[in-house]
């Protein structure tokens, strides 16, 4: 697969970029030069220099370290939201597709249609705005505010993923290899999980990478308006919010670096998704045409 990705240049770029992002997120504690939350008013608003590679903000915190740690939050929100969407969407889509033509399918499909009519960002802002930004407490466990973002975003991914899954499962359920399994006595569950599911992986992978990108933007947007990651925790969105007053006064490193981080990561995921899409579709088209 890597060989074919190499043939698709943009996909390759996307992969490399995301690879770097992931490594940064994992190794943030090691790569960071300073404590991202350490305040140092004496050294505030420094331009990028040898000690502070990306300068410092108005509280003297090292921008570079904050960008690195912000990667963790962004990736976590992006990925976990997609995971939630996959869990819900694949389940619903598979059931709807496997029992195509039934009342159950109709109910599921219409419910997904209804859910997909909710606009993502407005929904997230509204709910967090109403509930508030306090962490969620479940017994001894405490979940920070980002968890709400993950849940709200993930739920809204479900209809799109369900739709993709439904389409694939509907077609595959009518194939002869499914009939063969049934003729062997396999249960519906065994067939759905053991035979059909693996045929959904390709289209879902494309969908998933693109949704990670969306999740990152949602997190940054909510953090920007104060409804996402709460200070002093570093997040690209909160860094942009902090940089609001300094855009035109010359401290360019405050908005530029977090902004670049968001852009590069989002574009990286988009390129990866496009590359995967090209990889998985037209190749089949050309070879079959020749037969």
């Amino acid at each position: 697969m890597l060989r074919v990705l190499a043939g698709n240049r943009l996909g390759l770029v996307g992969t490399v970029v995301i690879g770097v992002v992931v490594i940064v997120a994992l190794l943030a504690p090691v790569l960071a030069t300073h404590d991202p939350e350490e305040v140092n008013l004496a050294g505030k608003l420094q331009a990028p220099n040898r000690e502070h590679l990306m300068g410092t903000d108005q509280s003297g915190r090292d921008v570079f370290s904050r960008v690195l740690w912000g990667t963790r939050v962004s990736l976590m929100v992006g990925v976990l939201a997609v995971v939630l969407g996959l869990l819900g969407g694949v389940t619903i889509g598979t059931i709807a597709g496997y029992y195509g033509g039934s009342l159950l399918e109709q109910v599921l499909v219409r419910s997904m249609d209804a859910l997909s009519s909710i606009p993502l960002l407005i929904w997230a802002i509204a709910v967090v705005g109403i509930i508030g930004v306090a962490p969620i407490r479940l017994g001894p466990l405490e979940f920070p505010n980002e968890t709400k973002v993950i849940l709200l975003t993930g739920v809204l991914y479900i209809p799109a993923i369900a739709r993709v899954t439904h389409a694939v499962v509907l077609v595959e359920s009518a194939s002869d290899y499914v009939r063969a399994r049934r003729a062997q006595g396999a249960s519906d569950l065994e067939i759905m999980g053991g035979e059909i599911l693996r045929n959904c992986i390709s289209p879902l992978t494309v969908q998933a990478t693109l949704f990670v990108a969306i999740g990152i933007i949602v997190e940054a947007s909510l953090s920007f308006i104060g409804l996402g990651v709460q200070p002093p925790k570093p997040s690209w969105g909160t860094m942009l919010a902090d940089a609001r007053g300094y855009v035109f006064s010359g401290e360019w490193w405050l908005p530029v670096f977090p902004g670049l981080a968001i852009s590069v990561t989002v574009i990286g995921f988009n390129l990866l998704g496009d590359g995967l899409r090209d990889l998985l579709d037209p190749r089949k088209a050309t070879t079959q045409q020749m037969v």
């Binding site: 033509g101 009342l103 399918e105 194939s175 063969a180 049934r182 003729a183 062997q184 006595g185 045929n199």
Partner: protein, 372 residues
């Protein structure tokens, strides 16, 4: 035909009695909920068939005849709307999946379309492994048995780790056969197993099937639209039209002395393979609309010798011999009854062969010409 002669193997393996199957197209569930009378498609319309141990029953028919539906119904891939299915005397019509398992081990199916009969994301090893697992075989034995199965169908163990797209159509068909044999069935339904193969490969596949039938003592239901193939491999033939069996009997009876006008038309339409001796189209029209079946014989609209009663009343079955039965009003009448075939009209040249059901020459004459 190296099959058991008629009379041997009296044990009835599969018995289908008055099977009917209706489909409601589209989102039938919603239509039923709203109490809208959805137009149902009557794919099977009262089919009765008995397959005895050792038989190879050829099931022939064109598109819309219901032969594939009958195959799926017979092994409980889909449920019947009406009728009963009995295997070795035991009723399996409505058994739950668990109680059905012993039947599943005994009755298997091979499909026509090699593109959809194997999971594109599973290797041959995995596909066979699934079947062997359902058969109850432990993991340790599965690999060896899978290789043995592949040998049996003329492929080697080197195909175990291939994906379907790395196999040719003929190879995929053999893997499908190996998968069916993995369950060690005694009854095999072959649904157009050679129709998608090249001519030179069809012969190989047919020989393989015939050899396996002998080696493993299989009873088969062989579905095909190709009468010459059916002639070769079957000892009994059933002809289907619009969801009914219109004629059945031994191969010799049905293919050399066909009684039903549809069977005669089928035989007359086959290209002769002899230059300059064209087959004439003896029936016009096309397959009948299964959602709008007339009360009488579904072939009446195209039949060159249809009478008015044919459209209104479905003909009773007439026994032409202890083994040969057909459902046609003409056979019940004095003129044609004795010989068991429709009395041939004057051998006119075909008129238009077009969409209109113009009567053309009856098939009996054409058949006699062919035997020279």
């Amino acid at each position: 035909m190296t099959a058991a002669a008629d009379g041997e193997g009296d044990a009835t393996l599969l018995e289908l009695v008055d099977i009917a199957k209706e489909f409601v197209p589209g989102h039938g569930a919603l239509a039923r909920l709203l109490r809208r009378p959805a137009r149902s498609i009557r794919a099977l319309n009262g089919v009765t068939l008995r397959v005895r141990a050792g038989d190879v029953v050829g099931l022939v028919g064109e598109s819309g005849s219901g032969k594939s539906t009958l195959a799926h119904v017979a092994i409980r891939l889909t449920d019947v709307t009406r009728g009963t299915i009995a295997y070795r005397g035991g009723d399996v019509t409505r058994l739950s999946r668990r109680r059905l398992q012993p039947f599943r081990r005994r009755a298997q199916i091979v499909f026509q379309d090699t593109h959809s009969s194997l999971n594109p994301r599973k290797t041959v090893r995995q596909a066979l492994g699934d079947a062997l697992r359902m058969r109850g075989m432990g993991r340790a034995d599965r690999a060896g048995r899978a290789a043995a199965l592949l040998e049996q169908v003329g492929l080697g163990a080197r195909f175990l780790d291939r994906y379907p797209h790395e196999l040719s159509g003929g190879q995929r068909q053999r893997v499908g056969l190996a998968r069916a044999l993995a369950m060690e069935p005694e009854f095999l339904i072959a649904d157009e197993p050679v129709s998608s193969l090249d001519v030179s490969l069809q012969a190989q596949m047919l020989n393989l099937l015939m050899r396996l039938r002998e080696d493993l003592g299989l009873t088969m239901l062989f579905i095909s639209h190709d009468l010459a193939v059916v002639n070769r491999i079957s000892n009994r033939v059933a002809v289907m039209y619009a969801g009914r069996i219109v004629e059945h009997g031994t191969t010799a009876e049905v293919l050399r002395a066909p009684a039903h006008p549809y069977t005669q038309a089928l035989l007359a339409a086959i290209p002769t393979g002899r230059p300059g001796r064209p087959a004439s189209p003896t029936v016009g029209g096309d397959a009948v609309d299964l959602s709008r079946l007339p009360p009488g014989c579904p072939f009446a609209g195209r039949c060159p010798v249809a009478m008015s009663v044919c459209r209104d009343v479905y003909p009773a079955a007439i026994d032409l011999s202890p083994t040969h039965r057909a459902e046609c009003h003409l056979l019940g009448m004095p003129a044609g009854g004795a010989t068991g075939s429709v009395s041939p009209g004057p051998p006119e040249a075909a008129t238009t062969g077009a969409g209109d059901a113009g009567p053309l020459h009856a098939g009996g004459t054409a058949l006699r010409c062919r035997e020279e």
